[in-house]
Subunit: 187 residues, 4 copies
């Protein structure tokens, strides 16, 4: 049995809904199970005992939530020093108001997390454009849930965005099955 | 009279329409005039004789058009070597299909150009969220025109996106008036 | 008298030393004074009463320190909602171990902050390559202080890096003098 | 036998030397062979017949060489339309003058390429910090060869940078062996 841990922060429940859909996607793949944990509660053991890691964040001011960054700085940096996560599989998702039609900074938010993931030596799984529901919630880096409409009214992430989050979870679960047990990086 | 040059490439005319609107914005500000030129035709003199520079590109594969990059590599790099554009004012805009609700890579496309602009020592003018029509075509880095709808059908950039492009041109013209004539950087 | 506020976080004192040099640079320009404040203590008034803002951060895991991001999320986001910082002048600097010869992620750390700055509607001042001491501590986005040598031994940021930090402070002070009092953005 | 294609552009031979070392790394792994081709000559068949793709570029003005972008825009974009490269394995490397100690824009150059790679649906292999020779030529996104010293004198990429390029090639070859034959993405 392979394990994929989903780490997330959430303000009003939108990122949490997406995290739950990602977890459902992971669990839909045979021989893989999900572990869902909030950024402020995750431990080093949660990560080292996992074969895959997926990190989700609200988009605040065009980048990642500070609680997610605190998790990276305090929990992950020690694991980086010791090279403990090398060769695991990883992915990312975000949720935001997304004022306008240009994603409202979700891309840099995703890249900030992927940057941390690359430092940790984990393989990055993107989201192909022919994924189901991509057009309603996908970016090539991962799923993007919009919690607000173009007038910044809070409407909540759509079912289609949740569907593509589930697809992403399943993709990463399959990638984890393929990669785990193989030695990719030598010292 | 201050001069702002708009450099752009265009495939199907969408980025060109935006470039024209940006130029209209520049010309709407007293004492500033626009100069519109395609990326494949711009010369070093076009840039050194300008007080401000605005660069526009189609988004291809989540980043800048190769013709715009060729202009940077061949025309701008010599000016960088000689520190010729230091202290001028600059901005960016893009146009793309933008498959989905997350901007389809427009942010990295904008950042690639802004990266070049920063190397050239030019001050960067962003696009505030309370700009008119922002919600229909704005990102904090600059205007973003979507040429396609969510099914990737080509519908052309909207009038609202053209309106925010004009706002951006006027903003940069005003910034150019404020900055030009002042020495910001010493050697 | 114009005021430039420098907001920073620091772990072992390296970013703090850079912040002090940036402040010295600001104060070296006539008619501009610096205000130095830690990220965990800065208030909204500190920012709204300033004509320029400079943000500095340690590089952690290839991106910005979580305390700096907390400041952005909690202090700046309300100002963004109300468009309170539009048209001010801003810049960035970072300090990090910089394992290897490629900056160890300082570029994305800088961009994450600049992303927030652009959302806040502030003009971005880069660092030209012909700035004094650039080769020992400069990147086009701003000064970069390396606290460690190539073996990750802590040697502290160099005098040259502190010198280029001072240059950046003076540049931003001059840009603030040029821009302040002009209306760049209309609503 | 798995095949990994290395696509690159080179001005003065530095990126080419790195490409050759990456290819040597690929060939050092049993059951994988390298195919080395210049960006201006690569065909769609070169890519669709490969299990892995590695893209290398000189850093120009803080981003990717225009010939590499032309390859992306003209050869890859059609493959993206048809989802032809989904699920393959990919990586990146760059070479540049790297004026100063902060990488001279190599990070955004790498990210621009990785952005294209993500759009193409390929899994991204980073470079862990405990890789041999990392400290002399590594960044978490991939190897970085510096062709110039801190005074911008051309000294050529170092043997250590070439060594880490070889490590990256071998890593990607091993990742290709693990991933190829598995279906990661469903439509």
């Amino acid at each position: 049995m392979r394990k994929v841990t989903i780490v997330y922060a959430s303000d009003y429940g939108n990122t949490e809904k997406m995290a739950q859909s990602v977890a459902d996607g992971v669990d839909s793949v045979e021989s893989v199970s999900s572990h869902l944990v909030q950024a402020e509660e995750v431990t080093a053991d949660d990560l080292t005992s996992s074969d895959g890691v997926i990190i989700g964040s609200p988009v605040h001011m065009g980048s990642v939530d500070w609680r997610v960054k605190k998790f990276i700085d305090t929990v992950c940096s020690g694991l980086w020093m010791q090279n403990k996560l090398n060769g695991k599989v990883a992915g990312v998702f975000v949720s935001g108001g997304g004022f306008g039609s240009a994603g409202g900074g979700c891309e840099i938010a995703m890249l900030s997390i992927l940057n941390n993931i690359a430092e940790l030596g984990m393989l990055i799984v993107p989201l192909p454009k022919n994924s189901p529901s991509y057009k309603s919630g996908g970016l090539h880096w991962g799923p993007y849930g919009r919690s607000a409409d173009e007038n910044m009214e809070n409407v909540g992430v759509s079912d289609e965005a949740l569907a593509v989050a589930k697809v992403h979870g399943a993709n990463i679960a399959r990638a984890t099955l393929a990669v785990s047990g193989n030695i990719i990086f030598l010292e």
